[in-house]
């Protein structure tokens, strides 16, 4: 019995560190709607800075002072980031801030290594909380007890702050309806900045408090960020109590789960999230999102198919692209094939995001399923390459059909997080089912047939398939189905009123996007000659998101440019610089600031303004009246 009590307390202590970070993220998201990917980076900075300060300052006062000072310093840094970077892009398309914070995270990862060096840094233990107390023969670390007490205190303070101060009232009001708060004359700028500062402070405090348990290391950010997002979503966005309950739930399930299934940790949080979201689509304590007031389609130039001249120009571009093998060697062609594959992948997600208004955080699942489909067919059934390419992507289709049914019941960030949960479930199956998938050692020897083995032939194949997929997706955008999908995106109510079955349309779109991604994955398997769980992983899903956002989410095919720019830049930087993440992150941040609608989106806006100033104004004024 004593053991179970101690295990419960241990779970509570784990929950405490999770809650501190999650509460900050929840507050920031609730008010500013920023999906703050850099939250983990702030957590990591808190830990590193606390390490430096607690090593320099002596005594108990020095230790605790150092922890708080570190959190405050990181919060100040957060304020700087918010004012310099994020303020510029609040009016950008949804999720664009994700791109900025992603770039920031990349930069911070390299900067941390530059400043503090590559080694893990072991900090001091907390003065007064070094040992353990005996509980019927079981040991409970006193620092755990400290954390167990601390987190309800923080929860209580936050509650008081939100319930008993004017600032708290404004924050809650903004969480519910920020347009109304702005309309009432509240200075949103400073409200957002202060909320961001508080959120970052909590993240950094969470990091700093890890010093007595963990060594500060440069992988801390990515290790926590996804779990924290999951906790926030399970609890319900913007709900602090929800975050607390979710942190306790997840930690306790883990603490007791490992007694029965020692391998459960790897997937537990995602399983919990999937179950919670299917049962309660807005998390445990969340409320349904208010319908969006702005109609997204109206801020964009109306989409139209390519004109005759533009089609000719496209064909010209393709001829040039097809001539690449005449002037370049096999390395350039291999890279170009990879880019073509990522064009397919990004275009498929773009179809879902732009046309369907459904941002998926787990799109790699279908890419990876396509790749595994090919690997199974080639290695186990010994099928020839053509058959593999034709049938392999069907595994992506199957996955998208099954998961899609559940995810389209949700919307917004909950939709995104459920796709992430399913992607992680697929990933953990690929990772754990060693007998079939080879686990993380992957499936090797999936090389293309002789006719496609040469770099030039494979490039032509990839290019050809990319063109077909992109063309097919574009045709669908301008088909009746595409219009129905856009109608559902722009106004679920109105489209339902004219007889469009929104969920069914969205489900179909999800399956189409998943299949297209599977086609990309199938080619990828042959390009690399092997398949690893990586190709289902979170980082690949994030890559796809970055490509779409970089290209411009409000365009018809911006993802193509996004994919080319991001992939080429990435490959080139990894090959030629030691600090590729720093440079890549900086480039992304610069693009975000200079082109707040993405590369293609911004260029199109500029072109429209230059070419048809009169017409554009009319459009804009129409848009305003429509609102």
């Amino acid at each position: 019995m004593a053991f179970y009590i101690v295990q419960f307390l241990t779970g509570l202590a784990s929950a405490a560190s999770l809650f501190l970070v999650a509460s900050g993220l929840s507050i920031i998201f609730g008010v500013t709607r920023i999906v703050n990917f850099a939250h983990g980076a702030f957590y990591m900075l808190g830990a590193y800075l606390a390490y430096t300060l607690t090593e320099r300052l002596s005594g108990a006062l020095g230790f605790w002072g150092g922890i708080v000072a570190a959190a405050l310093a990181v919060a100040a840094f957060g304020v700087l980031i918010e004012m310099i970077l994020l303020r510029r892009i609040y009016r950008s398309p949804e999720l664009f801030q994700l791109l900025a914070t992603f770039g920031l995270t990349l930069m911070i990862e390299d900067i941390v290594v530059l400043i503090w060096g590559p080694d893990d840094l072991l900090g001091r233990r907390a003065p007064g909380f070094r040992g353990a107390v005996d509980f019927f023969g079981q040991q409970i670390p006193t620092y755990d007890l400290f954390l167990i007490v601390l987190s309800p205190i923080v929860l209580g303070l936050l509650w008081l702050l939100f319930r008993r101060t004017r600032w708290g009232v404004l924050v809650r009001a903004a969480t519910q309806d920020r347009d109304m708060v702005a309309a009432l004359g509240v200075n949103q700028k400073w409200l957002f900045t202060s909320v961001f500062a508080l959120g970052v402070f909590l993240a950094a405090l969470g990091g700093a408090l890890q010093i007595p348990r963990d060594a500060a290391n440069h992988a801390m950010d990515l290790n926590i960020i996804v779990d924290v997002f999951v906790v926030v979503v399970i609890g319900g966005l913007g709900s602090i109590i929800g975050a607390f309950v979710a942190a306790v739930l997840v930690s306790e399930l883990n603490a007791f789960g490992i007694l029965i299934f020692p391998k459960i940790s790897i997937i537990l949080v995602f399983l919990v999230m999937a179950v919670v979201l299917i049962v309660r689509p807005w998390g445990l304590f969340g409320k349904p999102e208010a319908p969006a007031r702005k109609t997204p389609g109206l801020t964009v130039r109306p989409w139209r198919p390519l004109s005759g001249n533009e089609r000719l120009a496209m064909i010209g571009v393709l001829v040039v692209a097809a001539a690449l093998p005449l002037i370049s060697g096999s390395y350039v062609l291999t890279v170009a094939s990879e880019i073509a594959i990522f064009v397919i992948f990004a275009a498929s997600l773009h179809f879902l995001m732009s046309v369907g208004g459904l941002a998926s955080f787990g799109h790699a699942a279908y890419f990876g399923l396509g790749a595994y489909g090919v690997a199974f067919l080639a290695k186990m059934a010994g099928m020839p390459m053509i058959v593999c390419l034709l049938i392999g992507p069907l595994l992506g289709l199957l996955g998208a059909a099954v998961f899609g049914f559940f995810v389209v019941q949700l919307s917004g960030v909950y939709f995104a997080m459920l796709t992430l949960a399913f992607a992680q479930i697929v990933w953990s199956i690929a990772f754990q089912w060693v007998g079939v998938t080879g686990g993380d050692n992957g499936i090797l020897g999936v090389w293309p047939a002789a006719w496609a083995g040469g770099a030039a032939n494979f490039y032509w194949l990839s290019l050809g398939i990319a063109v077909l997929v992109v063309a097919a997706l574009r045709i669908m955008v301008f088909s009746p189905f595409g219009y129905a999908l856009r109608a559902t995106r722009d106004s679920a109510l109105r489209s339902e009123a004219i007889g469009i079955d929104g969920k069914r349309i969205q489900w179909t779109a999800f399956v189409i996007a998943g299949t297209a991604a599977g086609i990309g994955g199938a080619l990828f398997a042959f390009l690399k000659g092997s398949v690893f769980p990586d190709s289902v992983g979170i980082s690949l899903s994030v890559d796809a998101l970055v490509m779409v956002l970089l290209g411009g989410v409000e365009t018809v095919s911006g993802a193509i440019v996004g994919a080319i720019v991001y992939k080429a830049l990435n490959i080139w930087l990894v090959s030629y610089t030691d600090f590729s993440k720093l440079v890549l992150g900086a480039v992304i941040v610069l693009i975000v600031v200079a082109m707040p609608k993405g590369i293609v989106g911004t260029i199109e806006t500029l072109q429209t303004r230059r070419a048809r100033p009169a017409k554009a104004t009319i459009l804009a004024s129409q848009a305003e009246t429509a609102e």
């Binding site: 120009a313 686990g439 990828f524 490959i571």
Partner: protein, 405 residues
């Protein structure tokens, strides 16, 4: 859309220009021999930075001694960002564009396997430096791939030899939940159970790599009340595990046998909280008195004003071995390189090593000893060098494991 495509075109053009100019400057110089080196520099700097210093020292020494049959040795190094797919891109670049004579490096097992499969497909010689998986020389071995570091099996066999002498009967295991952890535990279990049929395995814990929730894991292990624990955790997970274990008294009156913990990369991070009395494999650089090692240590410390980690030795010896193979083959033809590498013997900081003909594994060994704390730092004491050749299965068994080429 149209503008987008024009931009695309321009970018392609610019990208091409860069790549072409690279190709011109990268043209093969006749008096150079190039080695293409790939490792997870950005993902695992704690291990790969000392590794890089090691191979850079080796390149200097090789060229100072006259290079490869008079030709200058050049190492072109690429980052794989910890992803097999990126390692393949780097391998293509090194082979197709830089025209390297061989590939070397890699740390993670899955990346090692990906590059080894690439080597087999493209018929390129590959000297794997650090990946530990047994598959790279056995189940998925191929004739183009050689491996330097003592494998998972070899390190397990070294530890089992010591573990079998312990009186402990009830064992629990804790390992990161991925291929390396899984195969380390399964080989260790198999070998120890074979030597000691009286042993019981009472618990196993599999926290995710890099994300151990140490409190519950330690508590769960303690609850199983084993006499001894096998640990395969390393890096940041090890720090958390040891700290929680110390606080909660998990290691009190229990034997612990632990993979890799004696390597400075992992032991030094623990400072004065390093565990005492664990039986570990590792690298006690402060305690090795052989002349080969003294020479290496002096050269390394003179150049870098820092002490070597195990990664330094691996990096150093990888390039030394590559140079020896290239010199012996006196050619860059992969078939001749393979012929030269099979059975080649060369000196190393740990004494002479040989690349076995049968499975392309080197006989580089490891030090087995006990951990202790000295002057506020973790050290290895009573360490003994175990030769790799003594801890490999019989030739008949190896032949069964390895596919025929």
């Amino acid at each position: 859309m149209r503008q987008g495509k024009w931009l695309l075109n321009g970018l392609l053009g610019a990208g091409l220009g860069v790549m072409l100019s690279g190709a011109v400057t990268g043209a093969m110089a006749q008096d150079e021999i190039k080695i293409g080196e790939i490792n997870s520099y950005s993902l695992l700097p704690a291990f790969t930075e000392p590794y890089r210093k090691g191979w850079q020292l080796a390149v200097e020494e090789v060229n100072a001694a006259g290079g490869i049959n008079g030709k200058k040795l050049v190492v072109i190094s690429k980052d794989d960002a910890g992803k097999p797919a990126e390692a393949q891109t780097a391998a293509t670049e090194l082979v197709a564009k830089e025209g390297v004579a061989m590939l070397s490096g890699t740390f993670l097992s899955n990346i090692g396997l990906a590059v080894s499969d690439f080597a087999k497909q493209k018929k390129v010689f590959f000297l794997a430096a650090e990946p530990l998986t047994d598959a790279i020389t056995w189940e998925k071995g191929n004739k183009y791939t050689f491996r330097l570091r003592p494998s998972n099996y070899m390190q397990a066999a070294m530890l089992v030899e010591e573990a079998a002498k312990l009186p402990a009967k009830k064992w629990a295991t804790v390992a990161p939940n991925y291929e390396y952890g899984q195969s380390a535990v399964s080989v260790f279990k198999k070998l120890l159970s074979a030597k000691r049929p009286d042993i019981q395995w009472v618990d196993e814990q599999w926290p995710p790599l890099g994300k151990i929730d140490a409190g519950p894991v330690v508590q769960a292990l303690a609850n199983a009340n084993p006499d001894a624990i096998l640990n395969v955790e390393f890096g940041g997970d090890l720090v958390k595990f040891v700290r929680e274990g110390n606080t909660r008294g998990l290691f009190k009156n229990r034997e612990v046998v632990s993979f890799l913990t004696g390597e400075p990369e992992y032991l030094d991070a623990l400072k004065d909280e390093a565990p005492t009395g664990w039986i570990v494999t590792g690298y006690p650089w402060y305690d090795i008195k052989t002349p080969e090692h003294a020479a290496f240590l002096k050269a390394y410390q003179d150049k870098y004003k820092d002490y070597p980690r195990l990664g330094s030795v691996v990096g150093y010896e990888t390039i030394k071995a590559a140079a020896a193979i290239l010199t012996k083959a006196n050619s860059t033809d992969p078939e001749k390189l393979i012929a030269a590498a099979e059975g080649i013997s060369l000196p190393s900081p740990f004494g002479e090593i040989t690349f076995r003909k049968i499975d392309h594994q080197s006989t580089l060994g490891a030090f087995v000893g006990k951990t202790a704390v000295k002057d506020g730092k973790g050290v290895m004491v009573d360490s003994v060098y175990r030769k790799g050749s003594d801890y490999l299965p019989s030739d008949a068994e190896v032949e069964k494991l390895r596919p025929k080429d």
